[in-house]
């Protein structure tokens, strides 16, 4: 669904393309053996290559190539057998070589697709233009000294994939879903940890607007370095509205690069087209063109795990889940793994319900994520076993689950400790019913006189008297029989 901005002159449609920078998961950097571990002491993970000492040469890390190709395969993209590394020339203090090694004309991955799942259950296909590999720069720290800038080169030379979409998104919502889906996919295949807080994934958004019904692409502005989903959405919304205001007041949008100010929730000019760098790209003579064989690609394709779209399809078709539940469960690989453990030997819908409603609700409230959930998939599976064999009722199970969540104990232990076993013994249930009927003779008479609605009252009383421990099915049957007598 397009995001429509109601202007004074008419309705406007938003057009968005994203350039996502994803850090490739690899032990060492793109062209050197230095460690890529996050959080090291400044400049502790810097080789003579990363610091661009004289005479140092880059050597391509094969693992990074594999991860880029796997990502391309996961996006159903064309893998280019021949790709070229170029030098992108510009001066900055945290760019030691004075150029970034990137891929310009001949990237490693060509066109692909990402299917995004919208909240209303619909799906849209967003085109991927290309993926190329490049080096990250170091970090300039301006806040360490009043008169100096400090440089940390730990990030210098770390491998990034730049995943460039086509201008196919029509709302900030879609842009966000695109980011989420892309993050989900790279996490599934392990080519990037997708951690936006650590800067492992960040994006630049290209935004323009056009009158609804028009197919032209108007001048776009690029908003740099958006490092959270919320900022992405806010920046796009602000920028799109700004374009509409400019057009409607008779102005023109200038092509430029803009920065997002998250405290003011606005974008502002970083550099205009006139100040745009001339990067003077040319093939890096220190590196040979990268040639990839069909065999290399085939092996990587075979080793690719089940991807979120395939998993979702399987959940819907084979497990009978709703598209919505399936989307929720496959969005995160860990969630899907958790769900599959719980669903094993149980009804899939029941398992899905427990994971999406009960578990997620509690995780959200307690601020845990699925990886450090106090209740393991095995423990939840144990709880479902107790429901299935009628040891406890569904209602009791929720209380037991609360206790499991708090104490970390398994379901059987909690049921034992609290004597929560469900009463299924017919004699005991009959005793409860008899007592209630005896204490409420008037209600019995009314019921028998045709006031059917009172049935619920008797159920409630029985549950209350037994502390909820009565098997509801058995209770219903026996109660009906006795009241009818």
């Amino acid at each position: 669904m397009s995001q429509i901005i109601k202007g004074n002159t008419g309705d406007w449609e938003v057009v968005i393309g994203l350039e996502v920078h994803a850090q490739i998961s690899s032990k060492s950097k793109l062209f050197s053996g230095s460690s890529t571990l996050f959080g090291g002491e400044p400049n502790s993970q810097v080789s003579t290559v990363d610091a661009a000492m004289p005479g140092m040469l880059p050597v391509l890390n094969e693992e990074c190539v594999k991860q880029a190709v796997r990502t391309g395969l996961a996006l159903k993209a064309k893998i280019n057998h021949h790709s070229v590394f170029d030098r992108k020339n510009y001066f900055y203090a945290d760019l030691p070589q004075g150029y970034q090694i990137s891929q310009f004309l001949d990237p490693i991955v060509g066109e692909g697709t990402i299917i995004i799942d919208m909240k209303d259950g619909s799906s849209r296909s967003i085109g991927v233009e290309r993926i190329h590999m490049e080096q990250d720069a170091g970090k300039s720290m301006h806040d360490q000294s009043p008169d100096s800038t400090f440089i940390d080169l730990n990030r210098s030379g770390i491998a990034l994939m730049e995943i460039v979409s086509k201008p196919d998104m029509r709302s900030s919502e879609e842009a966000m879903e695109y980011m989420k889906k892309l993050r989900s996919i790279v996490r599934y295949i392990g080519s990037c940890d997708g951690d936006m807080e650590k800067g492992s994934m960040r994006c630049d958004a290209n935004v323009s607007v056009r009158p609804v019904g028009s197919t032209e692409l108007r001048t776009r502005c690029e908003i740099k370095n958006l490092n959270s989903m919320r900022f992405l959405q806010q920046a796009i919304n602000y920028e799109a509205n700004r374009h509409v205001e400019v057009y409607e007041s008779g102005g023109k949008i200038a092509q430029e690069t803009r920065l997002f100010d998250s405290s003011k929730i606005e974008t502002r000019t970083m550099r205009t087209k006139e100040d745009a760098h001339d990067y003077r790209y040319f093939p890096d003579p220190d590196l040979l063109p990268l040639e990839i064989s069909e065999e290399f690609i085939r092996k990587l394709r075979e080793d690719l795990p089940e991807l979120p779209d395939e998993k979702k399809e399987r959940y819907i078709v084979n497990l009978g889940l709703s598209p919505y539940d399936a989307s929720v469960l496959v969005a995160d690989k860990k969630t899907a793994e958790y769900f599959e453990l719980v669903a094993k030997g149980h009804d899939a819908k029941m398992a899905a319900n427990w994971v999406t409603a009960e578990l997620f609700g509690r995780l959200n409230k307690s601020g845990h994520d699925i990886e450090n959930s106090p209740v393991s998939a095995k423990a939840l599976s144990g709880l479902l076993d107790l429901i299935n064999d009628n040891t406890i009722s569904g209602k009791m199970a929720k209380d037991v689950f609360d206790a499991m969540f708090e104490t970390g104990k398994d379901a059987a232990t909690i049921v034992d400790e609290r004597g929560l076993k469900q009463v299924t013994d017919t004699g005991a249930i009959e005793k409860v019913i008899d007592d209630i009927m005896a204490a409420n003779q008037d209600k019995v008479t009314e019921y028998r006189g045709g006031k059917d609605k009172l049935f619920g009252f008797f159920v409630g009383q029985a549950m209350k008297a037994s502390g909820g421990a009565v098997n509801p099915q058995a209770l219903n049957e026996l109660l009906k029989k006795k009241l009818a007598a």
Binding site: T48, A52, M53, G55, M56, L57, P58, A93, Q97
Partner: protein
């Protein structure tokens, strides 16, 4: 003794050491005295005499235990472009002031592993940009040769002028150079020594301060062709740290000298190298060279390399383009020179540092390189130059279907006076015969083969097929034998 030890070739020095006629210590000491005596040449800009003497002692002990390398105990000079661990390495540029690497280049590391001993770092044109060795931050190098009856100081050629002069004057037995467009072959010709540039990819570029990465290749200066073969063997070989290093087996080059039969060898004479205005003495020597080879049984074949005239302009687009990026790292941030003013911006610091740190020729090439890569000019210059480069390579490939080696003059003139021919375009013309083989990545050697009318050395160049250094050496050795060139020492 001192004098005679500095006159030896590498192979005779190896013999003498093996026979116990002298020690490495004695060799090194006599060369140190020679260097001290010839300071006026300005061939060395860093001395490493203490470590050289220690290394000589170590070599002499090694020799006693029988563990000897290919260049065991031999004193050599190393062009300042090679990074040498704990020894200042600046490519003779002010911008690398005081830079002392923590690492050893692959080529010097191999050379030292073979037993060679570094006497010091030799002077060169700043960042290897020049053909006269007058652009060095440490001053010009003087050619040990002078014109007959004329005290005018001559250029040694460049960029490896210090290495060429040192070998010619007996200040080392051999020296490392680097050749991007002729920086080994041209100074070798000017100084009357052998200068060998191997096939691109033969020697690792790791630890060589880059000028133009797709052209830079280590090379050697010696006083005989056989010496060049021995020294090249010591520094060649695949290196995983250089992605452009060739995964080839290195033959034992010195073995070929046992049999210098070149009967049936086809030697190409490219007509395009016969240039207007070229001194007749150059042409005469070239014809003489062909005669010598013919007399030894080779077949002389006229060939055409039609794109030769485009090679020089092509080179002066590609090399500066690569240099403009390669030299971007000298920004005053991490090492070398930094010039700044209080309160200045980062851009101010870049400007001040690079203005002060680079010489005029380096600045000229950075500007040319930046220009040819700029938006709107890239296709007309850089891209077109790459296409022409392919055509130049194809000329050679097609010729090498007909011939085994190509014989040309090394330079269009003998050494000229310091201060003469200094306008850039005239200077660039020095490389007119050496640049085509560089663009094609082919091996080329300059052999001292005769003299100009004024008594200064002239060289002949032999260009071979890629990775066919053996035929190049063999042909060069035949020319050397026939020429009977007598050097200074």
């Amino acid at each position: 003794m001192t004098n005679s030890l500095t006159k030896l070739t590498i192979s005779s020095a190896l013999d003498g050491l093996a026979k116990g006629e002298f020690t490495s210590r004695e060799l090194v000491e006599s060369h140190i005295s020679a260097i001290e005596k010839h300071r006026d040449l300005n061939a060395y800009i860093v001395d490493t005499f203490d470590s050289a003497l220690k290394a000589a002692n170590d070599s002499d002990s090694r020799r006693k235990s029988g563990k000897i390398g290919l260049m065991e105990g031999l004193p050599v000079g190393v062009k300042d472009l090679f990074c040498t661990k704990d020894v200042r390495s600046t490519s003779c540029s002010h911008i690398l002031d005081g830079f002392t690497p923590t690492y050893e280049s692959t080529v010097t590391s191999k050379l030292f592993s073979s037993g060679a001993i570094m006497l010091g770092k030799t002077n060169m044109d700043e960042f290897a940009m020049g053909s006269t060795n007058t652009t060095s931050h440490y001053g010009s190098v003087k050619n040990p040769w002078k014109r007959k009856g004329d005290a005018t100081e001559l250029v040694p050629g460049g960029s490896s002028g210090g290495s060429a002069a040192a070998v010619a004057a007996g200040l080392c037995l051999g020296a490392l150079g680097s050749d991007t467009g002729g920086s080994v072959r041209q100074p070798a010709a000017f100084c009357g020594v052998v200068g060998m540039k191997p096939t691109y990819g033969m020697c690792s570029r790791w630890g060589m301060i880059a000028f133009a990465s797709s052209l830079d290749q280590a090379g050697v200066f010696t006083r005989s062709v056989k010496d060049a073969a021995i020294m090249l063997e010591a520094i060649s070989g695949h290196d995983a740290k250089d992605s452009t290093s060739a995964p080839v087996e290195i033959p034992q080059f010195s073995k070929i000298f046992a049999d210098l039969n070149i009967k049936g060898l086809k030697v190409g004479i490219p007509k395009e190298y016969r240039q207007d205005g070229m001194p007749s003495e150059i042409d005469t020597l070239w014809k003489q060279g062909a005669e010598w080879l013919k007399d030894a049984g080779a077949k002389i074949v006229d060939i055409s390399l039609p794109h030769t005239k485009y090679a020089l302009p092509t080179y002066y687009i590609i090399a500066p383009a690569e240099a403009s990026a390669n030299l971007a790292r000298y920004d005053g941030v991490r090492y070398g020179l930094r010039v700044e003013e209080k309160g200045g911006s980062l851009d101010d610091m870049y400007e001040l540092t690079r203005s002060a740190g680079f010489g005029a020729e380096v600045k000229r090439r950075i500007m040319i390189g930046t220009y040819v890569l700029s938006a709107g000019y890239y296709d007309a210059y850089y891209k077109k130059a790459q296409r022409v480069r392919t055509l130049v390579s194809r000329d050679f490939a097609q010729s090498f279907e007909k011939v085994d080696v190509i014989l040309t003059p090394t330079t269009p003139s003998p050494a000229f006076a310091i201060g003469e021919k200094m306008d850039p375009v005239t200077m660039y013309l020095n490389d007119v015969f050496t640049v085509p083989a560089s663009l094609a990545g082919l091996p080329g050697i300059s052999v001292p083969a005769g003299f100009s009318a004024q008594g200064t050395p002239l060289g002949l160049q032999i260009i071979g097929k890629a990775f066919d250094e053996e035929t190049v050496f063999k042909t060069a050795a035949v020319v050397e034998r026939a020429a009977g060139f007598k050097g200074i020492v």
